[in-house]
């Protein structure tokens, strides 16, 4: 199916005269149909990694495989859905028109009915609304529906709920899990919330900064479907602590 394999990948950006290395020696595989969370301090290149998979830019060295082919072929055959941190809706289009955009651009019929997708993300009745008439959480729902419009095999999310309040965020995460399960896509979620990473993912990849490297891969062996009461579970807390340990290491023992 659609496994994402990243081997020996590094990425540098030229900044004026100098050069900064965003990622170095990345070696990970995201199994088909899995849910992976990328977590790390800012500047660790987690968004860059996501954009490499989406073929926004090519890696400096190394190779990436999405399913049977490279990221460019995956992108051009519309196998990739991307959700940005801000909803990135076109303000002059209503909800359904925004959801239909990828199909229009691809010049193919939507692989999933835009109206049904709007209902799936809980926006039934708002099909004709303009983005400016929706709250932040509702706008992000539209962005998720848009990412699913061409039934992608890979769903990439760059801190999709980072700008939302804790309560809305928790609810959106529950719905996202339901939608992901139903779509069967390989999901990669960039986040900076430890509990979100553990709650959502099969595998939490912890990155360190300057340059971005994989410092630890933690597989989360918790049953699905996951409910909110899982967060009170001792196993959940111990996974959280593992991620925290990987992120902060010896700094945990330094007094504030």
């Amino acid at each position: 199916m659609t496994e994402i394999a990243i081997s020996g990948v590094s990425k540098s950006f030229s900044l004026g005269k100098g050069e900064i290395q965003a990622l170095a020696d990345i070696e990970i595989t995201f199994p088909s149909g899995s849910f992976t969370a990328l977590i790390g301090p800012s500047g660790c290149g987690k968004s860059t990694l996501l954009r490499l998979i989406a073929d926004v830019f090519p890696p400096t060295t190394g190779s990436i495989r999405v399913g049977d082919h490279g990221p460019d072929a995956a992108r051009l055959s519309h196998e990739i859905g991307f959700v940005f941190q801000d909803p990135t809706l076109l303000p002059w289009r209503n909800v359904v028109e925004n959801v239909r955009l990828p199909a229009e651009v691809a010049k193919i019929a939507p692989r999933r009915d835009p109206a049904a997708l709007t209902t799936l993300v809980g926006l039934a009745g708002f099909e004709e609304a303009r983005p400016s008439q929706l709250s932040g959480g509702m706008q992000q729902r539209v962005a998720i529906a848009r990412a699913l419009a061409l039934d992608p095999k890979v769903l990439l999310m760059d801190e999709p709920f980072g700008a939302l309040d804790e309560i809305t965020r928790q609810r959106m995460n529950m719905e996202l899990l339901r939608i992901w399960k139903e779509s069967g896509a390989t999901a990669v979620l960039v986040t900076h919330s430890i509990s979100e990473a553990v709650f959502m993912a099969d595998t939490v990849v912890v990155l360190s900064a300057n340059p971005g490297r994989v410092s630890e891969v933690i597989s989360v062996d918790l049953p699905r479907p996951r409910r909110l009461d899982l967060m009170r579970d001792a196993r959940f807390n111990s996974y959280e602590n593992k991620v925290r340990e990987a992120l902060f290491g010896d700094d945990m023992k330094v007094p504030a």
Binding site: F84, D86, T88, L90, L101, E104, V105, A129, I167
Partner: protein, 268 residues
């Protein structure tokens, strides 16, 4: 669902209230214009009577009004000529400016190659190149249009270029991930985001467009309102000359007002 948004009915006034509001605004504007006109005419007449100004220096409002009525045909023909140059020139400048600003989004190299040339054209005083333009394009309307294009091009191009660069990186990345071509990204994202900027450019250009059309007529002798004013002056037909001045001022203001209105409609 917890995250509810205010329904559209709560936010926007109804259609009826909106049209009433607009009518009231129009009424206020008409009253304002009428008051200004009366004040101007009173001041004008007052100044001539009080300071005892001779009619060959400045005619009184009544004789200018008479000239406006008697010479309506000549004024209308001249105004139509100048308007054709103005509108044609701005339209051509718009097409050229938007195309070139669009090309700049294709490659930064192209913009670095073309911008110095464009800026050179911008800094060359139009009065200096006008004789050259008359040599090339003759003493007809073409020269007027070319002058208007040269003056209008720059503000439209600069604003269009800024507008095309205004979409956020995410919007462009979204189109890229969807597999959009340059053209699709341009028409579906860059152009809609740039429209308010382009209209600002048109508004800025239109302020100078009538002026530059008349200037071209002064230099080439083409039969527009600029030439009418110049000839009326040399034949000492002062009321006609002043009538021409009044007509050109009203026209320039009207064109500017029209672009402001279009810009406001669009950016709502």
């Amino acid at each position: 669902m917890a995250d509810t948004a205010p329904h559209q009915a709560d936010k926007r006034p109804s259609r009826y209230a909106e049209s009433q509001e607009r009518l009231a605004a129009l009424g206020r504007f008409a009253r304002f214009v009428a008051v200004v006109l009366v004040v101007v005419v009173v001041l004008w007449q007052g100044a001539i009577s009080l300071l005892d100004i001779e009619p060959f220096v400045a005619p009184d409002p009544l004789s200018v009004g008479q000239a406006l009525v008697q010479e309506t045909d000549a004024l209308a023909v001249a105004l139509a000529y100048t308007l054709r140059s103005t509108v044609g020139g701005v339209a051509l400048a718009l097409v050229l400016a938007v195309s070139i600003a669009g090309l700049f989004t294709l490659s930064p190299l192209l913009s670095r190659a073309l911008l110095p040339l464009i800026i050179m054209l911008r800094t060359a005083p139009i009065l200096a190149i006008a004789p050259l333009l008359i040599l090339i394009f003759g003493r007809g309307q073409t020269t007027s249009i070319v002058v208007v294009v040269i003056v209008s091009f720059f503000p439209i191009m600069v604003n269009a270029a800024r507008g095309f660069a205004s979409p956020k990186a995410n919007a462009l990345e979204l189109m890229h991930v969807c597999g959009a071509s340059w053209w699709q990204t341009f028409t579906r994202v860059r152009v809609p985001f740039a429209l308010p900027f382009i209209f600002t450019g048109i508004r800025m250009a239109s302020a100078g467009a009538v002026l530059s059309a008349m200037l071209a007529e002064w230099l080439s002798g083409a039969p527009g309102i600029g030439t009418l004013i110049l000839e009326a002056s040399s034949f000492r037909k002062l009321p006609l000359m002043w009538a021409g001045v009044v007509v050109s001022m009203i026209t320039a203001t009207a064109i500017y007002g029209l672009t402001v209105w279009m810009e406001r409609r669009l950016s709502r």
